[in-house]
């Protein structure tokens, strides 16, 4: 019986536990700092504290989808399987932060504006972005062949990302041509520090999530390769 060749898909190194502790610890610290130091806002009162998760989550959404664009394009160029897995991991985490942004925005909007939803340019384009990446994740779920899945989702990821500025522009026009846009909330210095710290903390959490998801994807893929090798008549 011929010996099975060593698999080129070795198991990736495990992500470290301390990074998880540091990132979640940073969130707790940054939230505590922000909540304790920031004064109650004039109009909104303590409702303003939602901003400390809502705004950084929105930033992380865009960052994650930028990672999807970069690694999708890189996959199409170099055809390295790991780029596809990283893009998919970033898309999942990006969709999570995108959902969080929308949910927190609505929870904030109900008392602040009196309604759960307005067809504001930012809200609408954030929702459309969410739907575009739901489509991306659905495509991955409905295609079985790993290589085909990688090529298709890279194309969909890149084309979806190209559309983001066009969607944003069209939705902005759609609103502003009919009524004046809501004035941009200028931030009082009392709140900027808390926002920055929370942004860094959520960035760490996002990096941890993507790394963990990537690690799982690599392990899953390695297991698939082992199963394939076994089915092909190895051991």
């Amino acid at each position: 019986m011929p010996a099975t060749p060593p698999s080129p898909h070795s198991y990736p190194p495990r992500t470290s536990v301390w990074f998880a502790f540091v990132s979640f610890g940073a969130v707790i610290a940054a939230q505590t700092h922000a909540i304790l130091t920031s004064p109650a806002e004039g109009d909104m009162g303590h409702l303003q504290k939602i901003m400390y998760v809502h705004v950084p989550a929105a930033w992380m959404t865009f960052l994650a989808f930028f990672v999807v664009l970069v690694f999708s394009a890189r996959y199409l160029w170099k055809r390295n399987e790991n780029d596809d897995l990283l893009a998919a991991s970033a898309a999942e985490v990006g969709a999570l932060f995108n959902g969080l942004t929308l949910m927190l925005g609505m929870i904030w909007g109900r008392p602040a504006w009196g309604v759960w939803w307005v067809w504001d340019a930012r809200l609408t384009s954030t929702l459309v972005l969410f739907l575009i990446f739901v489509g991306y994740l659905a495509l991955r779920a409905f295609v079985d062949d790993a290589e085909q899945k990688a090529r298709w989702s890279a194309a969909v990821g890149a084309i979806g990302a190209i559309n983001v500025p066009i969607v944003y522009m069209s939705v902005t026009w759609w609103r502003t041509l009919h009524q004046p846009p809501s004035s941009p909330a200028t931030l009082d210095p009392a709140y900027t520090m808390g926002l920055r710290l929370n942004a860094i903390a959520l960035l760490l959490v996002m990096i941890h999530f993507i790394r963990k998801r990537y690690e799982i994807a690599r392990v899953e893929r390695a297991a698939e390769h082992v199963a394939e090798a076994a089915a092909m008549g190895g051991r």
């Binding site: 199409l76 079985d144 298709w152 194309a155 979806g160 559309n163 026009w173």
Partner: protein, 228 residues
């Protein structure tokens, strides 16, 4: 010389698709019937106030177009896959983009014809008053159709070969078409009125930019999508 051969390939694929469609007819007829049915349902849901219907006409026509058009795109690839013809199509010499261009041309004619009927039905059912500047409305319609068909054909080339193609194509396609929907409906509404704010021009430019951007992007991406 080379481009002439490519153009012949494109035409051959488009003609093959349209001939199949013409001989069966059932595809086109059912897609058009669905489009008109959606219009009637929207009329029932939004009516019977004549002014409310007139205001909703543009949106209703575009939604009917999107919902019925999405069926056409999957069909154009499904017929290839069911008979195993796509593999053979890929075996032919010549660049792969000609397959995409051929499908695109076929779908463009199919959807244009469908939209013509849906728009005519919409004008009648929703009591639209046609303004003097109606050629501009046709321009908006044409640009919108190009955007719809470009992305519809591109995503159908993947969705039709996946599991759950019926749900996957609209899920991928509709969020991407948000700029087309907004631009086409807003520009058309402005042109149906007096366009007092002169906003139609900006929307038409946005539609044109969208079409050019995704024309280039889908042709580049298709090479990666189609390889066997």
């Amino acid at each position: 010389m080379a481009w002439r051969d490519d153009w012949r390939r494109v035409r051959a694929i488009a003609r093959k698709d349209l001939t199949t469609e013409l001989r069966a007819k059932v595809g086109f007829n059912s897609v058009v019937a669905l489009g008109v049915t959606i219009l009637i349902l929207l009329g029932l849901a939004l009516g019977p106030d004549a002014q409310a219907l007139r205001n909703a006409a543009v949106g209703a026509v575009w939604l009917a177009t999107l919902f019925s058009g999405v069926l056409a795109f999957n069909r154009s690839f499904q017929v290839e896959i069911e008979t195993g013809a796509l593999e053979q199509l890929l075996q032919y010499p010549g660049p792969r983009w000609t397959i995409f261009a051929g499908k695109l041309l076929g779908n463009l004619l199919f959807v244009t014809l469908m939209v013509a009927i849906v728009v005519a039905a919409g004008i009648v059912l929703f009591g639209v008053r046609i303004p003097a500047g109606w050629p501009a409305l046709l321009g908006v319609l044409a640009l919108g159709i190009v955007g719809l068909v470009l992305l519809g054909t591109f995503y159908a080339s993947m969705a039709s070969r996946s599991r759950a193609r019926e749900v996957l194509l609209p899920l991928l396609l509709f969020p991407m078409l948000v700029p087309v929907l907004l631009a086409a409906t807003t520009a058309s509404k402005a042109l149906l009125g007096a366009d007092l704010m002169h906003e139609a021009g900006a929307w038409i430019r946005l539609l044109a930019v969208y079409d050019v951007v995704f024309f280039i992007a889908t042709f580049i991406a298709f090479e990666h999508v189609i390889e066997a």
